[in-house]
């Protein structure tokens, strides 16, 4: 029982981190009509960026502020240079993001190296939780990820900019006709999506081994969250990310991790075919 609780908690922490990545993936798909294959690599860049900041002798919280800011600028630049010229064709834009993914991975391999690295968490120790000793940092990570998710939804629903983003997502042509500066919205959406994924990378960096291929393995999970949650249904995406991750975590108590993954993939196929609008969307 303790083991299952532990696995479920670990699943929850990872689910919240995956939700951070999947949200960006979902808004980029919803607004720009782009399946961003490089999105997992933004997550990887966040973790690698954190490692570089720590290696420079700076504290963890500096990475937490600096890396997402750099990520915003970087995301905006990428959107202008790579995505915007091919945005008319969803297929070409997917291919372009695949090229971007190669560039990001190889740049990191060239500078950071191919060997996996680990960093120690900014807070260490354990607390007793329902009779189980649990890693403090993971609790902090879960809390922080939840806070960022909450902040993201507040931004989307309460600010003028967020309202404009939602308007573009609902009806692109109408929004443009109403004079909403769609190009700025597209740029900002991509930048925010990239930045939030990097936050996920920073949060995850002390609990994973950091390497240039980190994004390749996490990306499929994020797509699963987007599909199971329902395209365009952002709260559904978060719920799906947590659900997938916790379920897979708990399943690993009984089967091998790959078996758990196959189970979720099959589940997703069923969702895609029976409820293509997602598990948590109406109609």
């Amino acid at each position: 029982m303790d083991l299952i609780f532990l696995l479920a908690m670990n699943g929850l922490v990872w689910g919240l981190i995956i939700a951070l990545i999947a949200l960006g993936l979902s808004i980029i798909l919803g607004l720009l009509d782009v399946i961003n294959i490089a999105h997992g690599d933004f997550f990887m860049l966040g973790a690698v960026g954190c490692w570089f900041v720590l290696a420079a002798g700076l504290p963890f919280w500096v990475a937490l502020i600096l890396v997402p800011l750099v990520g915003l600028a970087f995301g905006a630049l990428v959107q202008q240079l790579v995505i915007k010229p091919v945005q008319v064709s969803p297929s070409l834009s997917i291919v372009a993001t695949f090229g971007l993914s190669l560039i990001l991975q190889e740049s990191v391999r060239a500078t950071f190296g191919a060997a996996p690295q680990r960093i120690s968490p900014p807070v260490s120790g354990t607390v007793e939780l329902f009779g189980v000793n649990y890693d403090v940092y993971r609790l902090v990570a879960a809390g922080f990820a939840s806070a960022v998710l909450a902040g993201f939804f507040i931004f989307l629903n309460k600010t003028k900019f967020g309202t404009r983003m939602r308007a573009v997502r609902l009806d692109k042509d109408m929004a443009i006709a109403l004079g909403i500066p769609s190009n700025q919205i597209f740029m900002a959406t991509f930048a925010i999506g990239a930045s939030v994924a990097m936050v996920g990378g920073i949060v995850a960096s002390p609990i994973t081994s950091i390497e240039f291929r980190l994004g390749i393995d996490i990306l499929p999970l994020c797509f699963m969250a987007v599909i199971i949650g329902g395209l365009g249904n952002l709260p559904g995406t978060v719920a799906a990310a947590v659900l997938i991750s916790v379920t897979e975590g708990v399943l690993t108590a009984f089967v091998e991790p790959t078996g758990a993954r196959i189970a979720t993939l099959l589940f997703m196929c069923v969702v895609l075919l029976v409820r293509p609008q997602g598990l948590f969307s109406r109609g």
């Binding site: 969803p90 090229g99 190889e106 390749i216 196959i262 997703m268 293509p276």
Partner: protein
């Protein structure tokens, strides 16, 4: 998006140029086992074999994207099925070469039929994602079924040997013999692809790619047209996977991963989607680039990434598109009304 010059007939001067180039290519490919080792080393003969195999794999992606407008990041599934069908039937079941080859044609083709039943129903984004998901499911399945697939280590086997009538055999240990076998199969598959894209089905594919709503109003069952293309593409990818397994004496679970699919997409885009020989041009150029750059700089993929992005932006029809545009310019067909 994909304007098409490929149906235009060529006038005299460029036609000669094309014929000369074709003859040079054919002579080179037929004499490569003697010429290439004489010039450099046996190593390059294997590189050419590899180019041929990846050309075939990219052709599979091209049938879907270039001709019927479906971008699949899941063709690795059929590549992996082809590779593992060969390895499993020969290693575990003890089948001979030819029965194994027959299985390698049947399994991926039937697999494509089954996956296609579900996948081609879906709209573009869901199609993209579902094809990836199916290939991932098989990746994890292959990784977990260690006794059968060898898991992360893959499934190695000895160099195959094929019996022919009159007591002849094909010895794959001989790099030259192996090369000719691969060349023959790839040429045959490209001939098939040529027949298919210039057939009535081929014209139907273009109609569905250009405007699927209009195609359905014209009376085309868009679902069946797409399914046909998906099955044919699965067949091509399966044969490519089989050849790659025979060539490398090994089937690996990584063949199922979506990054393998990505390679096919890259070769197709760089070479030219919707052009018959686009995949050959793409696979040849990118692999040549790899061979020359990777010796000097291990991060050569960075350059490949930049090339992909430049292609999507400036040459969406790839090198074959540039070539067709130059030919059109030469024949004065460049200025269209």
């Amino acid at each position: 998006m994909l304007s098409s010059e490929k149906n235009n007939s060529l006038t005299a001067a460029p036609r000669k140029l094309v014929i000369v180039l074709a003859v040079v290519a054919i002579v080179f490919l037929l004499t490569a086992p003697w010429v290439v080792p004489a010039l450099s080393s046996k190593f390059w003969l294997n590189v050419i074999s590899e180019m041929l195999i990846w050309s075939l794999f990219a052709a599979s992606v091209n049938v879907l994207f270039g001709y019927v407008g479906l971008l699949s990041f899941g063709q690795a599934l059929f590549f992996g099925l082809g590779a593992y069908t060969y390895a499993i039937t020969t290693v575990h079941l003890g089948w001979g070469f030819w029965p194994a080859v027959a299985a390698c044609i049947v399994v991926p083709t039937v697999g494509a039929g089954l996956v296609g039943l579900f996948a081609v129903r879906l709209s573009a984004h869901y199609f993209n994602i579902l094809t990836v998901i199916f290939s991932l499911a098989f990746f994890y399945l292959a990784v977990s079924a260690k006794e059968i697939t060898g898991g992360d280590d893959g499934l190695p086997f000895a160099a195959p040997r094929a019996e022919l009538p009159f007591g002849w055999t094909i010895e794959f240990r001989d790099a030259g013999v192996q090369y000719f076998f691969i060349l023959m199969v790839v040429v045959l598959c490209f001939y098939l692809k040529h027949r298919v894209v210039s057939s009535r089905l081929g014209l139907s594919l273009t109609a569905v790619r250009d405007n699927h709503l209009r195609a359905s109003l014209v009376g085309y069952n868009v679902y069946l047209v797409r399914l046909s293309a998906f099955i044919f593409a699965g067949f091509l990818a399966g044969v490519a996977g089989m050849l790659f397994a025979i060539f490398s004496r090994y089937a690996s679970t990584s063949y199922f991963y979506y990054t393998t699919s990505g390679e096919g997409v890259v070769y197709m885009i760089v070479g030219g989607a919707g052009h018959l020989f686009g995949p050959v041009i793409g696979a040849t150029s990118v692999i040549l680039l790899r061979e020359f750059l990777s010796a000097a700089w291990e991060n050569y993929l960075l350059v490949v990434g930049v090339i992909i992005i430049l292609c999507t932006r400036y040459a969406p029809e790839g090198l074959a598109g540039i070539w067709a545009a130059i030919l059109a310019r030469l024949t004065g067909k460049g200025e269209r009304v």
